[in-house]
């Protein structure tokens, strides 16, 4: 896993070196740099060393937290990232809560009430979640709820109330979290549903029913708990997916997070900023996957790792 992160950083680094001479990233004035000054700058920045050495140096710098400065306004990349990452994390958390809180119960409901309206609605919800592009459904929801109905704000995070949990502040989270969480919710719904269906057919459930145990007890205490393994592992696996989802959702809703910063960095060809953001995402991705593996091993004691 560690190797994957190193390999990923190597890929990011080599991509960054493909834009051409990186000297211009560091020299504040590209013009008027005499030949000797240029050579001296190169030597100082170790640009005359082989690429592998440059990579190692860069990696060392990154490990110490020096991501360089943005091209646009020369702010330190770590500062920019530090400003925005909290907002992205909050949105990701809200979306995750939505996805788990809606996806799993709907999955149970859909399995238990198998041929009912709930099942029908839940499956439509799941279908739409996997087929609709986030940017489109986000824009349509904005049009519906913000422009036409005026019920919800059309973007940004700031309700400008001092109390952080006021309704005015929270209502900004509703649409973005819904859009970001819809896809994962669809996945959780399907897997919970299929796991529940499988468990509900098993012997011990039939035995409990024949014993006369109440339906609700059967569903929740017996069936649901045993059906939790696949959904939990999927939940852990998709945590990483929220990270890439934020790029689009933040852009649509003008959410001041890392994702929208990445989009504007792309437009401005702002290489250092882009590299920094990608690195952070790679690390977060790897951490999420690691967490997923640990959770998986913890949840299902039958799994043993060599």
């Amino acid at each position: 896993m560690f190797l994957s992160v190193i390999g990923a950083t190597a890929i990011v680094f080599s991509l960054s070196r493909m834009t051409g001479d990186p000297l211009y990233l560091y020299a504040t004035s590209g013009y008027g740099l005499s030949a000797e000054q240029e050579a001296a700058l190169r030597k100082e920045l170790r640009l005359d060393r082989p690429l592998v050495v440059q990579y190692v140096v860069w990696l060392g710098r990154v490990a110490k937290g020096d991501f360089g400065r943005t091209l646009l306004d020369k702010r330190k990349v770590v500062d920019v990232i530090g400003d925005k990452i909290g907002n992205s994390a909050q949105l990701g958390l809200a979306a995750w809560v939505f996805a788990v809180g809606v996806g799993v119960p709907l999955g149970v409901l859909s399995a238990v009430r198998r041929a009912s309206a709930w099942d029908y609605l839940a499956r439509i919800f799941a279908l739409l979640g996997t087929a609709t592009p986030g940017f489109w459904i986000g824009l349509m929801l904005i049009y519906l709820f913000a422009v036409t109905l005026g019920w919800l704000p059309s973007g940004t995070k700031y309700g400008y109330d001092t109390f952080p949990l006021s309704w005015n502040n929270i209502r900004h989270f509703i649409l973005p979290a819904l859009v970001l969480g819809w896809g994962p919710a669809a996945g959780f719904l399907r897997i919970t549903r299929s796991a529940m269906l499988e468990i509900l057919d098993s012997e011990f459930i039939k035995f409990a029913r024949s014993k006369g145990v109440a339906s609700r007890t059967i569903i929740w205490r017996h069936a649901f708990r045993n059906a939790l393994i696949p959904p939990l592992t999927l939940i852990a696996l998709t945590m990483a997916g929220f990270i890439t989802g934020t790029v689009v959702v933040e852009q649509v809703f003008s959410w001041p997070g890392l994702g929208s910063t990445a989009v504007t960095a792309t437009f401005n060809n702002d290489f250092p900023l882009m590299t920094g953001i990608v690195l952070i995402f790679v690390v977060l991705f790897a951490l999420a996957n690691l967490l997923a593996d640990v959770a998986y091993a913890y949840i299902d004691p039958r799994i043993k790792y060599s």
């Binding site: 896993m1 190797l3 994957s4 390999g7 990923a8 890929i11 990011v12 991509l15 960054s16 493909m18 834009t19 238990v112 009430r113 198998r114 041929a115 009912s116 309206a117 099942d119 029908y120 739409l128 996997t130 087929a131 609709t132 592009p133 940017f135 489109w136 459904i137 824009l139 349509m140 904005i142 049009y143 422009v147 399907r190 299929s194 509900l200 057919d201 339906s215 059967i218 569903i219 696949p230 990483a240 990270i243 890439t244 790029v247 689009v248 990445a262 989009v263 792309t266 437009f267 060809n269 290489f271 882009m274 590299t275 953001i277 990608v278 995402f281 790679v282 991705f285 790897a286 996957n289």
Partner: protein, 312 residues
Amino acid sequence: MAVSGATTRRASPDLAGQSSRFAAVLAVWDFFRRWPLIPAFILVGIIVMAIIAPWAAPYDYAETDLLSRNAPGFWDSQWYKDHPEAKFHILGTDPFGRDILSRVMHGARVSLLISTIAIAIGMTVGTALGLAAGFYGRIVDEIISRFVDIWLSLPFILIAMIATIVFEPGMRILLILLSLLAWSVFVRNIRAEVLSLRERDYVNQARVAGASGRWIIWKHLLPGVVNTIIVIATLRVGQLILAEATLSYLGAGLPSPTPAWGLMVAEGREYLRLAWWSTFFPGFSIVLLVMALNFLGDWSRDRFDPRLRQLS
């Protein structure tokens, strides 16, 4: 033959003992699940639309008509009465005055073409690597699996965005990126499949008979994984289309004035309040196409290889 998804789908009473009133609706649903007529019609319809676009589209997809910018479509005849000099556009125009219907039709060509080529490349490369990893094992397997792990640990959209800063946005880089997105699924699943097939008797007998590795792969293993390939391909095409649309929306895909659906949504975004049709129709087409493909993918999985149930 009909090992379809209709396993236990009759209108059985649920656990609490109530029988459902919506049994009829779900019976219809399940009929269409068995024989995916609706998705097939939709898909064929979109393909036909894509093919006849150069001739059947009412306007040229790049022709701007600045007098008719953000014109509405058939639902707003009042606007056309107010602007008698404007030409009629069935689905309206975008902020540059380009006809939406024509662009949607040409966009179908773009989406279908790109996703087909990408899945074909991804399928070929992924299958080859999966076969090699599964069959030859040990070092080859290690290396290939490591590559896949590294690739999967990268957030795709961001890498795509960096790649389009480095290289110019265009068809070629988009195809490369989408193929890279497609290949990893194939590698893992084909490898797993080969690992199980490898121990079968007929393979061992072929080995004893002196068949070379390549012969065994080509003649024995490959036909065994064809089902898996088909299922994975049909399940993943939709994902590729969504990825292409997302990249085009973010500006990291096809450049203007290509009528890529994602790009159309992005272009219409500024005028969403005034002219919702610029964003609605291209996006809706994406939804239709991906839903149809997902349905067909599910159906093909149920029909060809139900063991892949957990895949999606």
